[in-house]
Symmetry: C2
Subunit: 526 residues, 2 copies
C-alpha cells in the first residue's frame, strides 16, 4: 500500500472520453514501477470532480470493469487507461474524496507554501513565516482533515494481517497516526522526499505544531529520509521537541511510548536502464543533433550544463556569478566555453520567485553583454523540454549542481549515466553523500571555490575524468530505484521480525576532500 | 589577561586635552569590573591614530606616569583617565597597533557583516553571503592578520607560568592558535557573545573557512557559549567539519590532536546591585514621572514594553503583528493598553535594515491609524535613552522579548529586576534557557501564540505574576555577572588541575511548557 497526496495518474473527462495524465514528479517516477514487484494499492486524494468521478469507477474494481457493457463503458475506459499508463502492474488506485476547502487549505496554505518553504529554508525569517490564525485554521481544518481522510482510506484498503504501508512526503505527516490507531499491527514507513532541516529551524514554529508533526511521524515504524544528514537532523528534532522520547543517535532509534521507531536514509534514485534507453531514443537524438549544430556554429566551444527549475533553493545565481568570475580570470574562455542552463520556470506567481528570476536575468545580461546569441557565453534554454535536457547532459563537459538545499537532485545521477561530464556538486545537494568522492565538491555560498571547480572541471585530464566517471556510474547503477525500494522493504521485514533494520548508515564521504580556503581560491585584483 | 577586538576605553585627543569614552557593549560591561578581582591586562586593537598614540603612553606603565613631569604631561593625563573611568581596578590596557587596511578588512568585511550576519542567520540565503575573492582576501589579509597581531600582543604581556587568557567573541576566532603556539602551557578560554548556529548554516561556507574557524577555536582549553543549545551546535559543527576530532556530546568534550577541549555554556548577565542602584537614581525617576504623566493623560492604560535595537533579528515586526491581532480580537483593549517600544536605530546604512524598518513602520501606521499620539495604541520612543528604557521597564505590565535569534537579551533580566512585569519570551532568545520556567514562552514565528501570550500577560492574576517574578528575580540575582565570570575561572582552574570543568550543563527548561497548537490559538473569522 502506498499513500501519497497525489497519485500516479490524474483523470480528465473530455468530449472525446476519458484521459489520464501521469505525474512527472520524482515520487511518481520512483513508485510507479512498484506494481510490477507486488500487488499495490495506491491511495491518494482526488484533486477535482473528474478525479472523484474516476475514483468511483476505480473503486468498483477490475473484475467489474471487465464485465461492464453498454452504459458502463466509462468504467471500462478508466480501467483500460490505468492499464495503458501503468502497464504490467498489479495496481489498484484509490482516489479519495476530500472536501475542496479542506484540500485547498491542506495543499495551498500548509503543505506547499509553508512546509515546503520551511524545510527548504527559503523563508526570509525576519518577515516569514507568519504563524497566524489563518495558518492555524488551515492546519486544523485542512492538513489534519486530509491526513485523517487519507489515513482512513488506507485502512479500508488493508487486507493482510500485517499490511505494509508506505507513506509519502510532507503532505502526510499525520496520516500514519490514523492508520496506527485503527490497525496497530500495520508496518508503516514514511519516506520524506524533501530535506529535514536542523532543529533551529523547527524551533521558530509553535511547539504544538512541531510536536504534532514529529509525533505524527513517530506513529511509523521507520522514518525514511534522503540523506544521513537529514536523518541526523530528524533525530535531533525529536530529542529537542518530543519530551517523552529517548533518542539513540548512534543506533538511529527512537523509543517513544513503548514503541521503537527507526530512522534511516534511503536516497532516492532512478531506473538506469530505462534512462539509458530513453537517452538513446530518437527524440533525444534529434535534440542532440540540433544542439551540436548550434555548438559548431559557435566554433565548437566546451560546454558547462545545468538543468533545474529556476527557484531560489537551486542557487542558479551563484552558479552564474562563479562563471562570471571564471571569465574575468580567464578571458580567453569567453569564446571557448558556453554555459548552457536548461531552466524551467517555477511558481512564477510568487514574488520571491519573480525577484529571484530577475536577479538571475540581470547577471546573465551582464555576462552576455550585447553579444549575439551564438557567441554569448550563457545560453538559456527551455527546461520543460526533457529530451533537450538529456541531450545537453550527453554533450556536457562539466555539469553544475550546486543547490543551497535540495532533497536529492536526480539530475546529478542522470548526468553521469547519459553523459561523460565532470560533476561539480555542492555539499548541500542530497546526492552529495553518495557522489562526493568522485565529484568536485563545493559549498553552496562559495562563488570563488565554485569558479575554481568549474575551471578544474574543464581542465581535468581525460584519464582522471573517466576514472571518476566509472566510479560514479557504478555507484548510481548499484544504488538505483530498485535498491531504494528494496532497502525499505528489507528494513520493514526486519521490523516485522523484531530485528533492527539493517540499513543504518550510508557512507559519509562529504568530508573527505578538504582544501584550505586560501589554497583553492586567491584574490584577484579587480 | 583579556583579549578583545575593542577595549573598554577609546581615546580621543581634543584641543582641551585627552578624552576617554567607555564602550557601551555587553562585553565591556561584563568585563570592566574584572580588574577589581585580579590584576588584568586587557589587549585590544587601537582603532585610530589617537588610540595608537594613547596606546604608546599606556605601554609605558603607571610607574612612569606617576613620575612624569612637564613634557610628559600627556602620559599622566592618559593614565589618570583610565583610573577615572575604571576606578579601583588593577588594570593595564594594551592598545595594539594594527595596519588600517587590515583592520578595515577584518572588521568591515569579515567580522561585522559576514560573521555577524551568518551567525544570526540574517542572510537571505539565495542571494547572500557571496564568498568571493574579495571576502577570501579580507579573510587572509585582514581577519587572519589582526588575529595574529592581537595574539602576539597578548603573548608579550603574559607574565605568569600558566597565564589565564580570556578571548572574546567572533572577531578573534584565530587568536588562541597564535597564543597556543607561542605559550603552549597557557590556559585559554574563548567566550562567544553571539549565537552559534547549527552545522547546516556553516555547511554553506567553504570547508577551508569553517575548518579554520573551528580549529582556531580548538586551540583553547574551553570554548564558552551563551547557551546549552549553542554549545550543542558547536559540538555538532566540530563533529561534522573537523575530520580528526572526536566529539563526546554527553561530556561536552572534544579530543583533538592529543588535547582536550571542553565546551561550556556561560550565560552572560548583569550586575544586579548596580542596576537597581541606577534604577533608583534621579535620572530614571525623571523619565518615570514624565512617562507616568503621559500615561495618565492617556487615561491610565496598561503597558506592554519592548526595548531593543530596530534590527531584523529582534523580530519587532511579528511583535507588532501579534499586538494587532490582539486588538482585532479584543477591540476594547485599543483604549486600555499601550504598546511602548523603546527603539534605537541600528546599521541604518544597510538596505536590509532600512527595508525592515520600513516594514515595521507600516504595521505601526496601520495599527495607529490617524489617532492622536496619546490615544494611538503603539508608542515609539527613542532607545538611545537608557534612563527612559529603565523607567519604561519599571512601569511595564508585560515585557515582550521575542527575537528570532539572539546571544542573550539582557533586557529580559533587567526587566524583572527593575520592574514587576510578566515576561513574554521567545525560545530563541539566549535568556530562554534560564528564564523559560517563569516567563510566558512563545516561538518566534508564532504571531497567533504571541498574541495570546500578550493577552495572558495582561490578564495574569496578581498572585501568579508575583510568584513568577520572585523566582525570576532570584534566578537573575543568583546567576549574575560575577557568577558568569567565576564559573569560567573555576572551570579553568579545573583544567589546570587536569580535571573536567564542573559547569557541564545548564538546566534546559525551554521544553517544559508545551501547549497544543490549537489549544493556545484559535482561528477567528476575519
Amino acid at each position: 500500500m502506498v499513500v501519497s497526496n497525489r497519485g500516479p495518474l490524474t483523470f480528465r473527462r473530455t468530449a472525446e472520453g476519458w484521459r489520464a495524465g501521469r505525474g512527472s514528479g520524482g515520487l511518481v517516477t520512483a513508485l510507479a514501477e512498484l506494481g510490477r514487484l507486488a500487488p499495490v494499492t495506491w491511495v491518494s486524494a482526488a484533486l477535482d470532480a473528474d478525479d472523484q468521478a474516476a475514483g468511483r469507477f476505480l473503486s468498483e474494481g477490475r473484475a467489474a470493469a471487465k464485465a461492464a457493457r453498454g452504459p458502463h463503458a466509462e468504467l471500462r475506459e478508466i480501467h483500460s487507461l490505468v492499464e495503458h499508463q501503468l502497464p504490467g502492474q498489479d495496481i489498484r488506485l484509490r482516489l479519495t474524496d476530500v472536501p475542496p476547502e479542506a484540500y485547498a487549505a491542506h495543499y495551498g496554505i500548509v503543505s506547499n507554501p509553508f512546509l515546503w518553504f520551511m524545510q527548504h529554508e527559503m523563508y526570509r525569517l525576519p518577515y516569514e513565516p507568519i504563524v497566524d490564525d489563518v495558518l492555524v485554521a488551515a492546519w486544523r481544518d485542512g492538513y489534519r482533515v486530509v491526513n485523517e481522510l487519507l489515513g482512513r482510506a488506507a485502512v479500508e484498503g488493508l487486507r493482510s494481517r500485517r499490511p505494509v504501508v508506505l507513506l509519502q512526503d510532507y503532505h502526510l505527516y499525520l496520516a500514519a497516526a490514523t492508520v496506527r490507531a485503527l490497525r496497530p499491527e500495520a508496518l508503516l514507513l514514511h519516506f520524506n522526499h524533501i530535506p529535514w532541516p536542523s532543529d533551529s529551524t523547527w524551533q521558530l514554529l509553535p511547539q504544538g505544531l512541531r510536536r504534532a508533526i514529529l509525533e505524527g511521524l513517530l506513529a511509523n515504524d521507520i522514518v525514511g529520509l534522503q540523506t544521513d544528514r537529514y536523518a541526523q537532523n530528524f533525530l535531533a528534532s525529536v530529542a529537542s521537541f518530543v519530551r517523552d522520547a529517548q533518542v539513540d543517535f548512534a543506533g538511529r532509534r527512537i523509543r517513544w511510548r513503548n514503541r521503537n521507531i527507526f530512522v534511516r536514509a534511503y536516497p532516492i534514485s532512478l531506473d538506469p536502464d530505462a534512462l539509458v534507453r530513453f537517452a538513446r531514443g530518437e527524440a533525444v537524438a534529434g535534440r542532440r543533433a540540433a544542439l551540436k549544430a548550434r555548438l559548431e556554429r559557435a566554433g565548437g566551444p566546451r560546454l558547462i550544463v545545468r538543468v533545474d527549475r529556476l527557484e531560489p533553493s537551486k542557487n542558479v545565481l551563484r552558479g552564474f556569478l562563479a562563471f562570471e568570475a571564471l571569465l574575468a580570470r580567464r578571458p580567453e574562455l569567453r569564446q571557448a566555453v558556453r554555459f548552457l542552463a536548461i531552466q524551467s520556470t517555477s511558481r512564477e506567481a510568487l514574488p520571491e520567485y519573480q525577484e529571484y528570476a530577475t536577479a538571475v536575468r540581470e547577471v546573465v545580461a551582464r555576462v552576455n553583454r550585447l553579444d549575439d546569441p551564438e557567441s554569448a557565453p550563457i545560453w538559456l534554454l527551455d527546461g520543460s523540454d526533457y529530451d533537450l535536457a538529456i541531450a545537453a547532459l550527453q554533450l556536457a563537459d562539466v555539469v553544475l549542481v550546486n543547490p543551497l538545499v535540495d532533497g536529492m537532485n536526480l539530475v546529478a545521477k542522470e548526468a553521469v549515466l547519459v553523459g561523460a561530464p565532470v560533476l561539480v556538486l555542492s555539499e548541500t545537494a542530497g546526492a552529495a553523500e553518495q557522489l562526493a568522492r568522485d565529484a568536485l565538491m563545493v559549498s553552496a555560498a562559495d562563488v570563488a571555490g565554485t569558479s575554481r571547480a568549474l575551471e578544474s572541471g574543464l581542465l581535468m585530464p581525460h584519464d582522471e575524468r573517466h576514472a571518476r566517471l566509472r566510479r560514479l556510474r557504478a555507484s548510481v547503477r548499484d544504488e538505483d530505484i530498485a535498491w531504494w525500494l528494496a532497502r525499505q522493504l528489507r528494513d520493514l521485514v526486519a521490523v516485522a521480525e523484531g530485528a533492527r533494520p539493517p540499513s543504518r548508515h550510508l557512507r559519509d564521504t562529504v568530508r573527505r576532500h578538504e582544501p584550505g580556503l586560501e589554497d583553492s581560491s586567491e584574490a584577484t585584483p579587480s
